[in-house]
């Protein structure tokens, strides 16, 4: 643990039990699949068997007559949608495209695209009825690879689409390239000309899924008074409500979204799929309708993250990174909106590099529309940068971490988007990695190697609202609207306990539905402990001010003469006047009524996070299989509110990165059919595939937060892809530039097979 001077906290930095823990480990916590309402019926979705086809007609008459079927819906049952973009916190969506993704309109754009839905007395009956829906498809040629989709003669997903460039230019010809952006500074060609060493490489990564354990689900009740209630698994109840309002053209206040416990999201549960379908089925039948996906539907019908192609040329001079030229092309899936921009904007963040030229292309392909996935866009871009940097250091014979330290970004360094970094902990993180027990110990033995890589993620602020209601016994109900994916009930309650100097156990946090708390953006962008934490702090300060006023009233003194200290109220003019928090809480009814602290804010000052990872691997030269021997993740977390959950976030990100590096991929045949839409063949790591992930928590407080919080959840997935590739290169002498580095690919490369 490295640290700069930090205040002494009483609650922050401890490891209390999470408020939701007992319910979860005893199986009592209520998830979306547990929802049962009186009269509830079940929906199933018909999905496209084709990757690209025009829908000539849909005949639902036989399905509607199937015994037990209560309703069948298609795109025609959704209101006409506007062609405009709506901000949903971390991601922006075009409402018309979102609506067409919910239920296909004129075309299906990927295999698994929802086409129609049936509601019936049982899910099995609904399933049977799906087989009776007749869809007349005109099958069209499909394009599933980003480079193929960029070709001028590629099949077009949307004949009306033109390429939009920075500065508002629009291409003459239709294209699958939805946008092209460029980030540029200095003179890369001059820097390449005078460099000591230059590396040029091409990299590819495959589409990968977040792999949350809990499939999407939604239960909707369209009530007779025109209000709609939806129970769902989501990272943001308000984002679901906004999307429902847009798609269904229904006022926000007449929609209540109840966020159930969530079995993982990682960015994937910020957009809706089932919720509007359940709503229209419920409206049509007058019954509550429940929809749940199976695993194949999750893979084929929800948003993974982009497959990518990245070309990079990097140069070093005098032991520093001096120039980078890069082209990034990301698969957006069926509709525009990949994370290529974030990839471009984060790929050089660990470096102070003067000359760069980065071109970023957002490209549609006949695959599911991508969604956010943990530091969206950054891991693939870091795979390219950090692999190239590794090769530069090998050519120069310089220690890879010393090289990064020499080239490190710091406060004042400008990101590629021109914004200067505030106080960041990149150098401290690199120093902690250089001095770590792992890096200082040798790696020995045949077929073994070590790799390092760094990474960056912005982290987000956005909108949060919380309410802290002080009860007459001194306990507090903390009402928040950020769904709890990673232990945020605990991290928010801890910040309130710190602010009020009261025991953590006296605070009961609740994640409320959209009728019961002010607007909260999604739990995404690693923002909740930071931004909702800021709101909690403000609400706590509000409570303190109100309590000072109450004490002043009781004591008949000026409120300015009352101070709140250590969970007690004292009069600065009269040392005999003192009340504890709970003593005063007891008197709230007699001093003016309930004491409720509130805060609603748009959080600014999110602190970016840096990570450097060290990994040792052993590669079996006879099978191509890579074993992770040792892994250390070093990360600046600002201030670790609950260190155990910080470590858990880091470890979880690393494990997902290991999967991405070694085995995970969407495998397609040429027709655009996914070949591995199950957890058997989509190979995420199991517990036996990863060692203990060691963490080194660096704390360089974020000046934008009273307790120095930085988001921690996303940056740990950024370095592993490159760190593992660099380790495999060290172990085998072979540099892998295409992910995943599966045993097959490694064996074929090492033995020159096929």
């Amino acid at each position: 643990m490295t640290t700069v001077e930090k205040p002494v906290y009483s609650v922050i930095g401890t490891r209390p039990i999470r408020p939701d823990g007992v319910e979860k480990v005893t199986g009592k916590a209520q998830y979306g699949a547990d929802v049962h309402l009186p009269g509830m019926i079940y929906g199933r979705i018909l999905r496209s068997p084709h990757a690209h086809a025009r829908i000539r007609s849909i005949d639902t008459s036989a399905a509607a007559k199937h015994p037990g079927v209560l309703a069948v819906v298609t795109h025609g049952d959704l209101p006409a949608a506007d062609d405009r973009v709506e901000e949903l916190g971390e991601t922006a969506v075009n409402v018309r495209e979102l609506s067409s993704n919910i239920l296909a309109s004129d075309k299906v754009l990927y295999r698994g695209h929802a086409v129609a839905a049936v509601a019936a007395a049982s899910p099995h009956v609904a399933e049977e009825a799906l087989a009776k829906i007749k869809v007349d498809y005109e099958v069209l040629p499909a394009v599933v690879d980003v480079r193929d989709a960029m070709r001028e003669d590629a099949p077009l997903l949307n004949e009306a689409r033109r390429t939009k460039s920075m500065g508002g230019q629009v291409s003459d010809r239709p294209s699958n390239i939805a946008s092209h952006n460029q980030f540029k500074a200095g003179d890369v060609e001059a820097a390449f000309a005078e460099a000591d060493v230059v590396v040029e490489r091409e990299f590819t990564t495959k589409m990968v899924h977040q792999g949350y354990v809990e499939p999407q689900n939604a239960t909707a009740a369209w009530n007779s008074d025109g209000t709609l209630t939806v129970y769902t698994s989501t990272q943001g109840a308000f984002a679901v409500r906004a999307q429902l309002s847009e798609i269904l053209r229904h006022p926000l206040a007449r929609i209540k979204v109840v966020p159930m416990e969530i079995g993982g999201g990682f960015g994937g549960k910020t957009v809706v799929y089932l919720d509007p379908v359940a709503a229209v089925l419920s409206k049509k039948t007058g019954r509550p309708v429940k929809l749940t996906m199976n695993r194949a539907e999750v893979f084929e019908g929800t948003g993974p993250t982009s497959g990518t192609y990245i070309k990079i040329k990097a140069a070093a001079k005098d032991g520093r990174l001096t120039a980078v030229k890069a082209t990034l092309a990301y698969e957006a899936g069926a509709y525009p909106g990949s994370s290529v921009g974030a990839g471009a904007m984060t790929m050089l963040s660990p470096y102070d590099v003067e000359n760069f030229e980065i071109d970023a292309y957002d490209v549609v392909v006949n695959k599911p529309k991508t969604a956010a996935y943990r530091a969206p866009g950054a891991p693939a871009a870091a795979f390219a940068t950090e692999s190239a940097v590794d090769e530069l250091t090998k050519k120069l014979g310089i220690d890879p971490l010393d090289f990064r330290r020499n080239s490190a970004s710091r406060m004042g360094t400008r990101m590629v988007n021109g914004i200067a970094f505030p106080r960041i902990g990149n150098e401290e993180t690199l120093d902690a990695a250089i001095n770590s027990p792992h890096y200082r110990s040798p790696i020995e033995g045949p077929n073994r190697g070590r790799g390092v890589a760094s990474g960056y993620w912005f982290n987000a602020g956005m909108q949060s609202s919380v309410t802290a209601a002080v009860n007459s016994d001194g306990t507090i109900n903390l009402i928040e609207g950020s769904t709890d994916i990673g232990g945020t009930r605990a991290s928010l309650a801890m910040q309130l306990a710190e602010t009020l100097s009261v025991p953590y156990e006296t605070i009961r946090p609740t994640v409320a539905d959209t009728d019961s708390v002010g607007h909260n953006d999604v739990t995404g962008g690693s923002r909740t402990t930071f931004a909702s934490g800021l709101a909690v702090y403000e609400a706590g300060m509000d409570v303190r001010r109100q309590m000072c006023a109450r004490a002043a009233k009781l004591w008949s003194v000026d409120p300015d003469d009352v101070v709140y200290e250590g969970g007690k109220l004292r009069c600065t003019k009269d040392s005999t006047r003192e009340l504890t928090f709970s003593e005063l809480a007891k008197q709230s009814a007699r001093t003016g009524g309930p004491i409720v602290g509130k805060a609603s804010l748009l959080a600014r000052g999110a602190g970016g996070a840096f990570a450097t990872h060290i990994v040792d691997v052993e590669v079996d030269p006879e099978t191509g299989k890579t074993t992770i021997l040792r892994y250390t993740a070093v990360q600046d977390v600002g201030t670790a509110i609950h260190p155990a959950y910080v470590e858990g976030q880091i470890q979880g990100g690393v494990v997902q990165g290991i999967g991405w590096a070694l085995n995970e991929e969407y495998a397609y045949d040429e027709s655009g059919r996914m070949l591995n839409s199950s957890f058997l063949d989509y190979r995420m790591p199991t517990t036996l595939d990863v060692p203990m992930i060691d963490t080194i928590v660096v704390e360089v407080p974020n000046p934008g937060h009273p307790y120095g919080v930085r988001g921690v959840g996303e940056v740990p997935i950024v370095p592993p892809l490159a760190a593992i590739a660099n380790a495999i290169a060290d172990a085998t002498g072979h540099r892998f530039t295409d992910l995943p580095m599966s045993p097959r690919r490694v064996l074929e490369a090492l033995e020159g097979l096929e």
Binding site: H124, E127, E128, A296, E622, T623, G624, K625, L662, N663, A667, L675, N676, L680, D681, R683, P685, T686, L688, D689, S742, P743, R744, L747, E748, E751, L753, E754
Partner: protein
């Protein structure tokens, strides 16, 4: 899932009474494959006969001559947890203990694994290497076949209408012999073999020469393949011979290219697995038991 009748007979006679009634029939000998196949619409049936309540199909034990008789629906965990099975047949334990996880192993059976007839089935190469024989029963009597005669193609076994697999018989193993099963999977658990090898090595009494090798390969052909290894008899049990056995495995393999593995990769892997399995078998053959 489509609707079907569920039948849970209490005796073999009762099982046979439900066959030949014109209904498309599937058997539940664990359900770890068949339930998934029914759910995904890959198989269809009018009746599902649960074999888990038939006593003869649920027990296992050694006969006086040392043959291990295993009821076809006995859960894998009961087999590999048996100390006597562990002592006498570690090559069978290798396979039975790596199919799925503990929950799967508590339901899944050797009979189910054989009848499902996946070319990548883990228990089949191990049983072939051990020279197992299969007892097939019907209302009109029973017959026996060698394990290697049972698979008929991917997902197809050689049961005739009205027949079920009743028992697996693993004969007593020769003196100075050892067996092993190895598979390659990209992860370390919960996976399907990309390639696999089951071997049994019989040595001369002084351990100097190979008397016999049985070698069966999984996931490199339409069925599990039993390799002709006659040329290995009489050779020394050393690295050079094992390398030759690996080459014989590669040559015998007829793999396909699919998303689980490539042709060249699978040919290479069966060679590596054969050598590694033979090394384990040699160790088992020569260590005191």
């Amino acid at each position: 899932m489509e609707a079907f009748d569920y039948v849970a007979p209490r005796s073999l006679a009762e099982v046979y009474s439900h066959l030949g009634n014109g209904k498309r029939t599937l058997f539940l000998a664990g359900g770890t494959d068949v339930i998934v196949q029914l759910r995904e619409g890959r198989r269809h049936c009018d009746q599902l006969i649960d074999l888990k309540h038939v006593p003869e199909l649920m027990r296992h034990g050694f006969t006086s001559d040392g043959t291990l008789e295993i009821g076809a629906a006995s859960p894998l965990a009961e087999i590999y947890e048996d100390a006597e099975v562990q002592r006498r047949l570690p090559g069978l334990v290798d396979a039975a203990s790596l199919i799925g996880g503990i929950q799967i192993q508590s339901r899944a059976s050797l009979g189910g694994n054989l009848c499902n007839a996946s070319p990548a089935a883990d228990s089949t190469p191990a049983l072939m290497a051990l020279g197992a024989r299969l007892v097939i029963g019907s209302a009109s009597g029973s017959r026996e076949v060698a394990a290697e005669e049972f698979p008929a193609g991917p997902g197809q076994n050689s049961l005739r209408p009205g027949e079920i697999l009743v028992q697996i018989k693993v004969p007593p193993q020769p003196a100075h012999s050892g067996a092993a099963y190895l598979r390659f999977i990209p992860r370390n658990e919960m996976d399907i073999a990309v390639a696999s090898a089951g071997v049994r090595l019989v040595l001369s009494p002084d351990n100097s020469r190979i008397e016999d090798v049985r070698l069966a390969l999984g996931a490199v052909g339409p069925t599990v393949i039993l390799v002709n290894t006659n040329d290995l008899a009489g050779k020394a049990a050393n690295a050079e011979t094992f390398k030759l056995a690996g080459e014989m495995a590669s040559a015998a393999a007829r793999p396909i290219d699919d998303m689980r593995g490539g042709v060249a990769q699978r040919r290479r892997l069966v060679s590596v697995l054969t050598v590694r399995a033979l090394n384990t078998a040699l160790q088992r053959a020569t260590e005191a038991r």
